[in-house]
């Protein structure tokens, strides 16, 4: 309607309603996302660095630089995706479709692990299972006298377990949401026709939720292949490399060209699988799972299996939420991880520097570096929450109100591009992009601005999605009428859209805040000593053998993350519809 009114004769197309806005949004997205990625590719094509491609892909180094890490990466992706779909699907089925006891508790706990940083779980694993292979302190179990074999302490097996226990929560959320929308008519029809529970599960529920399963699987795959913290903490001591740890290693030792090539290949691997997953789903669009009719079907009666299944679910959930919290807290108090629950001291928290204790490193409350990192991290979280929601709202508003045209399509596509880009590769791209002055603009290397800009771009898929949900809550009619009475774009945004959407915006902002303060992969390369962030400080302490400090910092990050998430969930009371009955 707006378009019709304004694109009358005599007006130039340039002034068509929304064109300016679309151009501005598109320019922002190109600057945030497209240019950094292109800059990285161009860097590797430079005559001085193009050799890096052959080093990585064909030379005598290629096996160790690329193919072995690629094999590990794909194995991790495949196993974690499968494990997460099975585990997340099992829990979602329990919560949504059965009469298992304490459904709500299971539902709330299953959403938590994703809010705990993945390096927290890896650190907790080390605290429990670390053996004496690389010397130093052994873990608690070895301290109890158990002989922990290398394969359980280090490398692939613990990496897989830790990642499954982290990402299953993502799969749970997606699958539970899909199960909650399964049309009860279908189930009831089957029940009337005499089908048993097993038959209904395999014949109806599984096929209907296939898109959600594939989506969950491919997101878990993408998350697992790009995860940096877990393979770095658990794999490097046994020389297990993934593409992300190789990328980090190459850039840290100054072999930037090789690092970027590995980064580009990592983006391709991640992208191909997400694209393939998407293809599978989009081929099955004929399954309509949401209709207006139909109530909740009768829950499956688990009968005698109720309590055993409950026990299994709780075992998984406790080991992925409560255990890491307890272990990390205890370990931040215990001088020796072999005796986790004795000789507790507050030194690592509030102690003054003592030359004979932990190389004279003071407790984190007196440690200037950590206090500064905390300030910067919180500042970063708030700044990105603001910029992210601003750009996200602007982009989703633009595409929602002015849907037509190639620019809208481009905005939508580009805003989801970072989903395909692992955080560590995105960080590498930003070093290539803003690490040197561009024309009149100074380089941003080592500045707060760089962290904010990179994080805003990196989280754009998330903020645009949140923005879209918010926009949809605000009906277009109100805005239409404001426009008819002559209100300008900013007036409408400030006086109508924002006030109506403020709860959703706040919740979205808080979730962005959480995502960035617990992130390691994006910031690990953007980190500079003079601009420290908590997660990297924790990682560095952990890799230098000061586990207690790393764990104390991680406890702080977990505490902030969980508190903020709970606040956001309050604001978005509709975020878990499957819990309502």
């Amino acid at each position: 309607m707006a378009d019709v009114a304004i694109s009358g004769p005599g007006r130039r197309v340039f002034f068509r309603q929304g064109t300016m806005l679309k151009a501005v949004v598109l320019a922002i997205l190109v600057a945030l996302i497209v240019l950094p990625l292109m800059r990285t590719v161009l860097f590797t094509l430079h005559p001085d660095t193009i050799r890096a491609w052959s080093d990585v892909l064909v030379g005598r180094l290629s096996t160790n630089l690329f193919y072995k890490p690629l094999g590990n990466t794909l194995l991790i992706g495949a196993v974690v995706a499968t494990g997460c779909v099975l585990l997340g699907g099992f829990l979602a089925w329990l919560v949504v479709m059965t009469n298992v006891p304490f459904r709500k508790t299971i539902g709330v706990m299953a959403a938590l692990p994703f809010m705990i940083p993945s390096f927290a779980a890896a650190l907790a694993w080390g605290t429990l299972f670390r053996n004496d292979r690389i010397g130093g302190q052994v873990g608690w179990l070895q301290g109890l006298g158990l002989e922990i074999p290398d394969w359980l302490a280090w490398g692939m097996v613990p990496t897989l377990i830790v990642l499954v226990l982290h990402y299953f929560s993502l799969a749970f959320t997606i699958i539970a949401a899909a199960l909650a929308t399964v049309n009860s008519d279908l189930v009831e029809a089957a029940q009337i026709a005499g089908a048993k529970g097993r038959r209904i599960l395999l014949g109806i529920i599984l096929p209907v939720t296939t898109p959600a399963l594939v989506a969950a699987g491919s997101l878990c795959f993408a998350g697992a292949v790009s995860n940096f913290a877990t393979p770095a903490l658990l794999g490097l001591p046994v020389r297990m490399q993934t593409l992300s740890t190789r990328l980090f290693g190459m850039i840290e030792v100054g072999q930037v060209g090789r690092g970027y090539v590995i980064g580009i290949l990592l983006v391709l691997v991640s992208g191909i699988f997400l694209w393939a997953g998407n293809r599978v789903v989009s081929g099955r669009r004929s399954y309509t799972t949401i209709t207006g009719k139909g109530g909740r079907a009768k829950r499956f009666d688990l009968r005698g299996a109720r309590w055993p299944l409950y026990a299994i679910a709780m075992a998984v959930l406790v080991s992925s939420t409560v255990v890491p919290v307890i272990v990390l807290t205890a370990s931040s108090l215990a001088p020796s991880s072999a005796n986790l629950f004795s000789g507790w001291t507050l030194h690592y928290w509030v102690g003054q520097s003592d030359p004979s204790f932990a190389q004279g490193i003071p407790g984190i409350a007196h440690n200037d570096d950590i206090v500064r990192a905390l300030t910067i991290t919180l500042g970063l979280g708030m700044a990105v929450a603001f910029t992210g929601m601003f750009v996200g709202l602007l982009a989703s508003y633009t595409t929602a109100r002015y849907r037509a045209g190639w620019m809208s399509a481009a905005i939508t596509q580009i805003s989801f591009l970072p989903l395909l880009v692992p955080g560590i590769a995105f960080g590498a791209a930003y070093i290539a992009y803003l690490g040197a002055p561009i024309g009149p603009f100074p380089a941003l290397y080592g500045t707060f601005a760089l962290l904010v800009i990179a994080a805003t771009g990196y989280l754009l898929p998330f903020s645009v999605q949140t923005g879209r949900a918010v926009i949809q809550q605000v009906g277009g009619e109100l805005e239409e009428s404001a426009r008819i009475t002559g209100a300008g774009f900013f007036r409408r945004l400030v006086q109508i859209t924002v006030p109506l959407a403020v709860r959703g915006l706040a919740a979205g902002g808080i979730l962005i805040f959480v995502k960035i303060i617990r992130d390691l992969s994006l910031v690990v390369l953007l980190f500079t000593p003079t601009m420290p962030v908590l997660s990297v400080v924790a990682y560095r302490y952990a890799s230098e053998g000061f586990g207690q400090f790393a764990n104390a910092i991680t406890v702080i990050i977990m505490f902030i993350s969980i508190a903020a998430t709970l606040i956001a969930n309050r604001l978005q009371s509709k975020s878990q519809p499957w819990l309502q009955n």
């Binding site: 160790n64 630089l65 690389i134 302190q137 840290e252 100054g254 004279g360 690490g435 000593p529």
Partner: protein
């Protein structure tokens, strides 16, 4: 109000005067002359390859309470990557660079103008010329084979490096990943450069001439055999120290680490000792150098830090040198007596690296190691 303005003007005046000084003029100043300029700057940032910067920070701030020293413990390898990236970005974060890895530092930081040399005039006549140029060496550090003294009271359990490639030491040799720490890559490079000595030692150990197999020389062959023998790679020297040194081990590993880490034996509960008798050599001796960044933000305070790190006029150099006046570190100042508890430098059999020569094949050795892991 007036007072405040006057103070401010004074401060601005001092700041401007320090800006007016050309770098060369600052280079000639005594610490007493540097002090007011440094106090006006108020802060100074140091990138240091050793965690001992924490002790230096405390000592420096005790000596100069008006100047805030921000010390960062960053490995040499990472410092080089950071400093290059910062230079490319036109950003200067560090004022003082305290670093090893001289083969790379000379070519990639000094020759490219990212860092600049500085020798405090106060000590210039007491540091041998070889340690003043191209960069000021504060001390000589080491990466040598160490063993657990408690478990081996009769001396080192190894007398020849080639023993480390035998079954007895399978999975029981610890070092830091040479791709993560430059000094370890320098050690590997030196082993390759000393291939003739390595070939001789092979003969002495096994009574046969070395069969190179796929290796280009005896040094490369040693590195390949060492990796094939499940050498344990860790992330930092402290991990090596703990693995090798912790008391109460029955069958402890051996490892390449800093001789000077023996200083922490008592505090950390270690029993580290150097295997100085091992053939052909236990490892390498290399300089730890001090430099200014090319355009420091705090030029006077930066020079004051370097002056401080070279030690004062007391017998063993006072608080600035105290963290480094330990057994296993060899201070370059000729007027400071050698540490009584250490093997004398002349008796120490470790190889002295020649940075320029190391630089020629270092990348190649790095690639070799990459193919092994």
């Amino acid at each position: 109000m007036k007072v405040l303005t006057a103070t401010r003007l004074g401060a601005i005046g001092i700041l401007m005067s320090s800006a007016v000084f050309a770098q060369d003029d600052l280079n000639a100043l005594t610490p007493e002359d540097l002090l007011p300029l440094a106090q006006a700057e108020g802060t100074v940032t140091v990138y240091s390859f050793t965690s001992r910067i924490g002790k230096v920070e405390a000592a420096f701030e005790a000596a100069y309470p008006d100047i805030d020293l921000q010390g960062f413990d960053i490995s040499s390898t990472e410092q080089i990557a950071r400093l290059k990236a910062e230079a490319q970005a036109g950003v200067t974060n560090a004022d003082v660079v305290y670093i090893s890895d001289t083969p790379v530092v000379l070519t990639e930081l000094l020759e490219t103008g990212i860092i600049a040399p500085y020798v405090p005039p106060r000590v210039a006549d007491r540091v041998p010329a070889e340690y003043q140029s191209p960069l000021l060496a504060q001390r000589l550090s080491t990466k040598v084979l160490m063993y657990n003294e408690e478990a081996n009271p009769d001396g080192a359990p190894v007398s020849n490096l080639w023993e480390l490639t035998t079954d007895e030491w399978r999975g029981r040799v610890v070092m830091v990943d040479p791709l993560q720490r430059g000094d370890y890559l320098d050690l590997m490079t030196e082993i390759v450069l000393r291939s003739d000595e390595m070939a001789g030692a092979y003969n002495a150990q096994f009574g046969a001439t070395i069969d190179l197999g796929g290796a280009a020389n005896a040094g490369e062959k040693f590195i390949m055999d060492l990796f094939a023998n499940d050498v344990i790679l860790v992330g930092s020297t402290d991990d090596v120290n703990a693995a090798v040194g912790v008391l109460g081990q029955e069958n402890p590993p051996v490892g390449f680490t800093s001789y000077s880490d023996r200083r922490d034996n008592e505090d950390e509960g270690w029993a580290l000792q150097v295997a100085n008798g091992v053939a052909p050599a236990p490892g390498i001796i290399f300089p730890a150098v001090l430099a200014l960044s090319a355009e420091p933000n705090n030029p006077a305070a930066a020079r004051l830090v370097i002056d401080f790190l070279m030690g004062d006029e007391t017998e063993t150099g006072g608080p600035g040198l105290a963290p480094f006046y330990v057994a296993g570190d060899y201070v370059t100042r000729s007027d400071i007596p050698p540490h009584p508890d250490a093997v004398a430098l002349d008796d120490f059999t470790a190889w002295r690296i020649a940075p320029a020569q190391t630089a020629t094949i270092r990348a190649e050795v790095g690639d070799l190691i990459l193919t092994l892991q």
